[in-house]
């Protein structure tokens, strides 16, 4: 699946997007955050406060208990500040 990052999440990770294949036991958005945070210091810094992180699956907002099975694109970003 493709992951996309925005705003300070993108800056902390140092990438705009990447393709990942998480192991089968990673089933939810929250579990995916935990799996990514364990990768290295940059991801750990980006996801240091998981409850602040917002997520979208295939362009729709989701909560962290959402299942990731079948997702094509998952995005992580801070709370939005548009308007």
């Amino acid at each position: 699946m493709k992951l996309k990052y925005f705003a300070w999440v993108r800056e902390r990770i140092g990438k705009t997007e990447e393709i990942v294949e998480p192991p089968a036991e990673v089933r939810t958005v929250g579990e995916l955050i935990g799996w990514l945070a364990a990768r290295d210091d940059a991801y750990a810094y980006a996801f240091e406060k998981p409850t602040v992180i917002r997520a979208a699956i295939d362009h729709a907002h989701v909560k962290q208990d959402a299942a990731i099975v079948g997702a094509r694109e998952i995005a992580f970003f801070p709370p939005m500040t548009g308007g």
């Binding site: 996309k4 925005f6 705003a7 300070w8 979208a56 362009h59 729709a60 907002h61 995005a75 970003f77 801070p78 709370p79 939005m80 500040t81 548009g82 308007g83």
Partner: protein, 155 residues
């Protein structure tokens, strides 16, 4: 009559007067037009800023704004709806966002415009970064914006 919203996510500036006129020109069924323009302030939390840079999520920004436009059209009897949101670098005094609603009567136009702005603030995937003499920093989301959006949720 089915009303289609005009939604544009763009880098260039836009002409507010022209967008307002476009919703009522040549029509006799529109009795009220409400517009909200969001403009870049020259200061943030009392500190002068040089500019804002808006990052957005292409694809999702259009999808999310369309969803809320459809909800507004379902909840209020609107005759027209235009939403424009800019991205990129925006200097103080320049436009950031525009919502224009047209209806037969003012209440629907006022309410729909306020509903859309409250949702754009908290749900549209845009992020503001400010530039000032002290460098650049991401603007933090505000709790009162969440509270403003929550009051439109049907119980």
């Amino acid at each position: 009559m089915t009303v289609a919203a005009t939604i544009r996510i763009q880098e260039p500036d836009f002409d507010v007067a022209q967008e307002i006129a476009a919703l009522s020109k040549g029509r006799t069924d529109v009795g009220a037009v409400v517009s909200f323009s969001g403009i870049c302030r020259g200061s943030e939390q009392g500190e002068p800023i040089a500019a804002l840079t808006l990052e957005h999520y292409p694809g999702m920004a259009e999808a999310e704004i369309s969803r809320h436009a459809d909800e507004a059209l379902a909840r209020w009897p609107l005759q027209g709806l235009t939403i424009i949101h800019r991205f990129g670098r925006i200097a103080p005094g320049e436009n950031i966002v525009l919502v224009v609603t047209a209806s037969a009567h003012r209440q629907a136009a006022f309410e729909a415009a306020e509903f859309l702005m409250d949702y754009l603030k908290t749900n549209a995937p845009f992020w503001k970064r400010e530039e000032s003499a002290r460098g650049t920093s991401w603007i933090e989301a505000r709790d009162h914006d969440d509270a403003a959006a929550a009051r439109w949720t049907k119980s």
